[in-house]
């Protein structure tokens, strides 16, 4: 089936990109962070907002828009504890240390995140997104650029549905490259979602003639 062909043709590339993300992530965190179930799959649009631990779970999300030869959308979703731990790790302060970085109110409602933590986590999004884009750009021989990272703390469903809206897809099902990421003791957990833009889906279709039921 042609539809399966496109997924088959690019799943290796998507997986390589997600493994590259795990390597970059690990390097930043200073401990091994593995990609769990990295894959490229067709998913119903309506399902996407539920994929990061439930639509109402409050998360830290870092979003990057992709431009260049092809467009796309990259969203890194971290649970609040993981986001705080990751930021502390990157800022070189211990958990519970009374200083600027730990002085943030991450546990109640929508946190007013410390600017240093914000900046550290935006950099994580940047590094992680670039790791994926570099793999894909090399594989497809195209030029891809990430936007500056946008960090938001809110309901996972609200963030992901907004990302889906921004892509303005016409079809019900689209190709999604995603993986869960987890450190050994589960101290850092997250999800990465990569949605190709409609133009990117069309481009991939032209590389896989006959694959005409691929959404976008």
């Amino acid at each position: 089936m042609k539809k399966a062909d496109l997924i088959k043709d690019y799943e290796g590339l998507a997986r390589a990109g997600l493994e590259n993300v795990a390597a970059a992530f690990s390097q930043m965190a200073g401990e091994e962070i593995a990609a769990v179930a990295p894959e490229l799959r067709m998913v119903p649009l309506a399902e996407i907002p539920t994929l990061a631990g439930g639509p109402e779970s409050v998360v830290t999300a870092i979003y990057l828009a992709v431009s260049g030869d092809l467009s796309g959308h990259i969203t890194l979703v971290l649970d609040m504890d993981s986001a705080a731990r990751l930021a502390w790790l990157l800022l070189g302060v211990g958990e519970g240390v009374t200083d600027q970085a730990s002085d943030t109110t991450v546990s109640k409602g929508v946190p007013d995140m410390d600017p240093m933590m914000r900046s550290a986590l935006e950099e994580v999004g940047n590094v992680v997104g670039s790791a994926f884009l570099n793999t894909v750009a090399d594989g497809l021989r195209v030029s891809l650029r990430p936007s500056i990272p946008y960090l938001v703390v809110d309901m996972a469903g609200a963030v992901l549905s907004t990302v889906v809206s921004r892509a303005e897809y016409g079809s019900e099902r689209i190709p999604l490259a995603d993986a869960a990421f987890s450190s050994r003791q589960d101290s850092i957990k997250g999800f990465l979602f990569i949605l190709p833009g409609s133009d990117a889906i069309r481009y991939l279709k032209t590389l896989t003639p006959g694959a005409d039921d691929l959404g976008g």
Binding site: A46, S165, E172
Partner: protein, 164 residues
């Protein structure tokens, strides 16, 4: 309201109508999307549309609630078919947030704002009066419609909750 209620999730692009007093229709995590409820207080029938984008782009699709321009009339039809009366309907709307602050960004990218504008246009064309709304801002919302009472409850991640 969480005891003995049947929470029915209305996903992206869906429209659901219920006449079961034990049911609460809920659109979880509205970001730039809009939730529109319609309620007939006499027969106690309510409906909720979870709208994603303002106008259809010509591609065939099977989500009646995805586009504001199609979802509003589709919700009215669904309400009519289930026995409610158009002139009795109360409408409430929530969502349309700008989730990401794009500094110097292109306004056309702000789906939330475009959704709100489309809703104003469509409801005005159809002569509908919106009874209550919680629109815009930059927070995600969950919107619930209690079928027994017509009460709409909107909550945000900051745990603030308001009903109208």
């Amino acid at each position: 309201m969480e005891d003995n209620v049947n929470l029915v999730s209305v996903g992206l692009g869906e429209i659901k109508v219920s006449d079961d007093p034990g049911t609460v229709l809920v659109a979880y995590g509205l970001g730039s999307c809009l939730g529109l409820t319609a309620y007939d207080p006499v027969v106690r029938i309510g409906g909720l549309a979870h709208m994603v984008l303002p106008y259809p782009n010509g591609t065939a699709h099977s989500s009646p609630g995805r586009y504001v321009a199609e979802a509003v009339p589709a919700l009215l039809n669904a309400m009519g078919e289930s026995g409610s009366l158009g002139r009795r309907l109360q409408f409430k709307v929530a969502g349309g947030a700008q989730m990401f602050t794009f500094d110097g960004g292109n306004e056309s990218l702000e789906i939330g704002r475009r959704n709100i504008e489309a809703l104003r246009e469509i409801t005005s064309d159809l002569g509908m009066r919106i009874n209550a709304s919680d629109l815009g801002g930059n927070c995600g919302r969950t919107m619930k419609l209690q079928i027994a009472t017509g009460l709409v409850i909107v909550s945000t991640a900051g745990s603030s909750e308001q009903s109208f």
